[in-house]
């Protein structure tokens, strides 16, 4: 995934679409936007930084996981097998990006009324006491691929945050394919990884907010017919 910080307007659409898609409990934002002011007066600017799991090639969370609940798929997606997770939270300690969340037994969004059926499906008993993370909506990718859709092109096979980004600041595709849009952006548009000094080699790249070259428009994944 490539996220263009020049295009991001900080609308939190990714955060909300992620919550809707993945039915996460209160306090868990697998995709989130952090907003900060940088610089000193009078040269101050506001930066929106959309964050999610970086899907690192060298994920520290996977290395520290004592149960091998955190695994890496062949396509590079890092995910948690919730059956294996014992909730030790070592991965949350190890992740440099704050991309992991522990599901505490603190109820849902409606207090004393208990969980709605939707909430029950998302974070009922099966997810209590485990650690959740973004997995690029692997359920959408897998279901979409099974129906012949292409991730990054067709919304059926693309992560919810990408399809929902109204500023089209997110690009999704196969970084192993040198001709894919994301590969081209990474190669040409001054893309950078967050804190590469941690040795994590993320698969989520960012295009800087302060740059002169505007990236090419993404394929319109909203209107393309299957």
């Amino acid at each position: 995934m490539v996220i263009d910080l020049l295009k991001c307007i900080g609308c939190y659409g990714c955060q909300m679409s992620c919550k809707a898609e993945n039915a996460t409990p209160p306090g868990v934002t697998l995709a989130r936007v952090e907003v900060s002011e940088v610089g000193t007066y009078p040269n101050v600017t506001r930066v929106n930084l959309p964050l999610l799991c970086m899907q690192c090639n060298e994920p520290p969370c996977e290395k520290v996981c004592p149960t091998k609940a955190t695994q890496i798929r062949d396509d590079g997606i890092v995910f948690v097998d919730e059956e294996l997770c014992i909730g030790c939270k070592y991965c949350m300690i190890a992740c440099p990006y704050g991309a992991r969340y522990f599901v505490e037994d603190k109820g849902g969004y409606f207090g004393d009324q208990g969980l709605t059926p939707y909430e029950e499906a998302g974070y009922g008993e099966q997810r209590k006491g485990v650690v959740l993370k973004c997995d690029y909506c692997r359920h959408r990718i897998d279901a979409g691929l099974a129906q012949g859709f292409t991730p990054g092109i067709d919304r059926e096979a693309t992560p919810a945050c990408v399809t929902n980004c109204m500023a089209k600041a997110r690009y999704f595709g196969d970084l192993d394919d040198p001709n894919s849009e994301v590969s081209q952006l990474v190669a040409r548009a001054q893309a950078f990884q967050l804190n590469p000094e941690f040795g994590t080699d993320p698969n989520t790249h960012y295009l800087p907010a302060g740059r002169s070259v505007v990236a090419t428009e993404p394929a319109d994944i909203r209107t393309k017919k299957a």
Binding site: V38, T67, G87, C88, N195
Partner: protein
């Protein structure tokens, strides 16, 4: 921007690190004491240390989201220090446990008769006790994105503190056991007296280690260092850990070793022991809490809620 302390691993993990360190430290003290001929106090120290280590693991398990699946933590020793620690701590509990069972209770006389077996068991337990103390520092020290911990001095600091708090535990438990069982002896008092001198050196070493530690991490983790020295945690750090946990026991030990008590139970080491234990727990708690993440960088420093 207000800096929030690290909130993922809290007091239960601090209690685990503290009890595992204290128990392992007491086992080290007991075994070295036995090697030097102090049999009775060695038995007391080991019989205190091994259950303390066993108790520590309960805190670790209680912190899990799925405590009933704790045994799965052994599955990834290739890279995970929780898995490796599981083996190290288990080995200490097993080897130390056999020492206690065959030497103290319920089969107290077996190892009194078999000197060779006793030395062998003690040597194994000693290795894993030292490994346990060091491992608790490595566990959090390997995390590169939390620069306050990612420091080679941390395991050393934890080892010094573990032996010191182990001595604190021995100070506390020895007079109690001796007076309850009526086995106070000049030899035991002599051992405790030696420990007071040793612990004074350890406390000074720990103070130096803390100073060097903070000097080392200050450039790499300024927010974390400030959190301890002047921020939210500064009261506990200066008053709790440095004052009550290091200075007070050192002063008590100094005056106690000057006017040496001839026969136990003497109150001075017992009081010093309590302060040492409190200080050891606070140290683990503070170091855990100060382990905040590095800010994320977007060309210019972009600080994403450090500590979250």
């Amino acid at each position: 921007m207000e800096i929030v302390p690290q909130g993922v691993w809290r007091w239960k993990i601090a209690a685990y690190l503290f009890l595992a360190g204290t128990g392992a430290g007491a086992v080290i003290v007991g075994i070295l004491g036995d090697f030097m001929g102090y049999v009775i106090p060695a038995k007391i120290a080991i019989a205190f240390g091994v259950p303390a280590v066993a108790l520590s693991t309960l805190f670790l398990i209680a912190d899990l989201g799925r405590p009933e699946k704790f045994f799965r933590a052994v599955l990834h020793p290739g890279t995970s220090w929780i898995s490796r620690g599981f083996f190290i701590v288990s080995a200490l509990i097993v080897s130390g446990g056999f020492t206690v069972i065959l030497w103290v209770w319920p089969f107290g006389s077996v190892l009194d008769a078999d000197q060779g077996l006793r030395t062998a068991l003690e040597a194994i337990a000693l290795v894993f006790a030292v490994a346990t103390c060091i491992y608790t520092g490595i566990l959090i020290g390997v995390v590169v994105s939390r620069p306050f911990w990612n420091n080679p001095l941390l395991p050393i600091l934890f080892l010094i503190s573990a032996v010191s708090t182990g001595i604190g535990g021995v100070f506390f438990i020895t007079p109690v056991v001796c007076s309850v069982l009526g086995i106070a002896s000049p030899k035991t008092a002599e051992f405790v007296g030696h420990l007071e001198s040793v612990d004074m050196i350890l406390v000074i070493a720990e103070a130096i280690a803390i100073y060097l530690y903070l000097t080392l991490v200050f450039d790499r983790a300024p927010e974390a260092a400030r959190l301890l020295l002047t921020g939210k945690l500064s009261g506990l750090f200066w008053g709790g850990f440095l004052g009550a946990g290091l200075l007070v026991p050192a002063v008590i030990e100094f005056f106690s070793s000057v006017g040496h008590a001839e026969v136990l139970p003497s109150l001075a080491p017992l009081v010093a022991g309590v302060f040492l234990l409190v200080g050891g727990f606070l140290m683990r708690l503070l170091i855990l809490a100060a382990g905040i993440r590095s800010p994320l960088m977007v060309r210019t420093p972009f600080k994403v809620r450090p500590g979250f």
